[in-house]
Amino acid sequence: MSALPRSRRYQIAVPLALFIVVLAWWHPYAVIEGVQRAGLYAAIALPMALILGIVGIVNLAHGDFLMLGAYLAYWFAVHTQGDPLVAILPAALGLFLLGAVVYRATIKHVIGSSELSQLLLTFGLAIVLQQTATLLWTSQPVSINTEYTSTSATIGSLTFGTYGFVYVAAAVIEFAGLTFFLQRTRLGQAASASGQNPVGARIVGINVDRVYLIVFSISLALAGAVGVLFLTRHAVFPLVGGGLTFKSFCLAAMAGLGNLRGILWCSLILGLAESLVSTSKEYAGWADLIFFVAIVAVILVQSHRRQVT
């Protein structure tokens, strides 16, 4: 959870701000949609970075838990004829409990094993979740349309969608909430300590196992809640989680493992870059390349600076 030194922060923030200003003048839509896209990426990646930073596990089933939250919301909306957003709390709660069960039954037993066994365990969980969803709901996607999803605003000659900013808000709230939790609450401080030095934390009397359980459950609860938001604007199907896990994993690695603030920056950079490339007619097919080249570039530059070991 190491924050960057102040001078380094400016080194990133100032060029980025300049870039955004220039881009906004040149391609206003690329900025608006890029920021919205960045919000979605960050909202999805933050819970994964939380587990990675504190429990130290790459949760390859992250996107699949999100998928589960989305299906819960869908089920809720269909059966109550209500708004899917109402399901945010039940989905978060349900996933929190599921998180506790999954942690107790599986994750707990691989804490301290090699990172690869942990990886494979969550890979196995991902397959189980995907296939259960396929058996329960078939591969046919579900989607929900609400009136507010496609609201738009007009400023001057610009007409743009506003609902996408929900994801920006979600990411900011998540980030602020998690930062508050980790820095200001006793449990959060214990979690930070366990994340940095589990052995030391144990020595000073922190119940590391319980901390891990709670952090894991919180991460799943957040994934569930984001899943509900995801459903309001995206189709959901059993295999939808794979791509989300993949992007979150890349973002977490780019940001520096467990660095929550870094997730916001990296999401913003990637969101803007992707949006910019997709607005170009000839090179739209290369948008993915930007994402991955950016990741490799950032990792290489970081390694030269910090000598990543």
Binding site: T106, E115, G124, A126, I127, V128, Q131, T132, F291, F292
Partner: protein, 290 residues
């Protein structure tokens, strides 16, 4: 090993698929033994497949020769990448290789003139005119060579040094051995194996496409097989590939709906019950009995 010859075409084919994954798993494990985890197996598999398919099609290269070209192409790519990225450690190297796989895929998809673009490229005929027995022998030969290389690596001086210091980086640095150079070498060799396997796959099924050839499963399944069988050995990945490969096929026939669910559950359970992998468990039993 000649059993599948008498077991009929279907088992030969299944065995060929298992051997394909066996080579991928074993080559992946070889790199792990140097302390580096690669998520780029599908990338080198794909480079090999495309190089073989394109040279066979455009330069009218003999299929077997084109498979060698596929291996060389993957090796060349790995050398360049290894020199720039193998200094990274742990997850950073892993994620870089994963990103590179995707980069290869995007490039291949966006160069329709050369690669056939998103639709891929079809070869006029499969290797050996689709003779399953000859294809089986080919994969068996590649697998035996891979096993031999794996065994050879385990006998090098550098390997012993690395094993004894696997958990102690400081010793590694002070030992004076150039681990980086060794890692680049191993990376190049294992990527060549993955390229050769990809090339054979392309020749066997006579087509390449960005979606099918760079499938992330070519990375994930071999890793799962290694972990299941047990890492850091020749035997572990072999057992893992055999078990997981045959379990997957058997389950599919028994349980047409939901077989992948059981497959996922098996992976989860094995990790929980046998964290050292099947080979590790067997060794443990063996030691206990003595």
């Amino acid at each position: 090993m000649a059993f599948p010859l008498y077991a009929g075409v279907y088992l030969q084919h299944t065995a060929t698929i298992i051997l394909t994954y066996l080579c991928l798993a074993l080559s992946w494990d070889m790199l792990v033994r140097t302390g580096q985890i690669s998520f780029g197996v599908a990338g080198f598999f794909g480079i090999g497949a495309y190089s073989a398919a394109l040279t066979a099609l455009n330069l009218k290269l003999d299929p077997l020769l084109s498979i060698a070209v596929g291996g060389l192409a993957a090796m060349a790519a790995a050398l360049v990448l290894g020199l720039t990225t193998l200094q990274l450690r742990g997850m950073y190297f892993a994620i870089t290789t994963l990103a590179l796989t995707e980069i290869f895929r995007v490039i291949v998809r966006n160069l329709p003139g050369l690669t056939g673009g998103p639709e891929g490229t079809v070869l006029p005929s499969a290797i050996f005119d689709g003779d399953p027995t000859k294809t089986y022998w080919l994969l068996l030969a590649i697998a035996l060579v891979t096993i031999a290389i794996s065994e050879a690596f385990q006998r090098t001086r550098v390997y012993f040094a690395i094993t004894s210091i696997r958990h102690d980086e400081m010793v590694a640095r002070s030992s004076g051995l150039d681990i980086f150079k060794y890692a680049v070498f191993v990376f190049a060799v294992t990527s060549a194996i993955q390229g050769i396997v990809g090339a054979s796959f392309a020749q066997q099924y006579a087509f390449v496409s960005p979606e099918g050839t760079f499938d992330i499963d070519f990375t994930l399944l071999p890793i799962a097989m290694c972990l299941l069988g047990g890492m850091h050995s020749t035997l572990g990945p072999i057992i893992g590939a055999l078990v997981l490969g045959s379990v997957a096929e058997y389950l599919k026939l028994q349980l047409p709906y939901g077989h992948l669910l059981v497959y996922g559950a098996v992976i989860t359970l094995v990790i929980l019950l046998m964290p050292q992998g099947v080979a590790g468990k067997m060794k443990e039993q063996f030691v206990r009995e003595q």
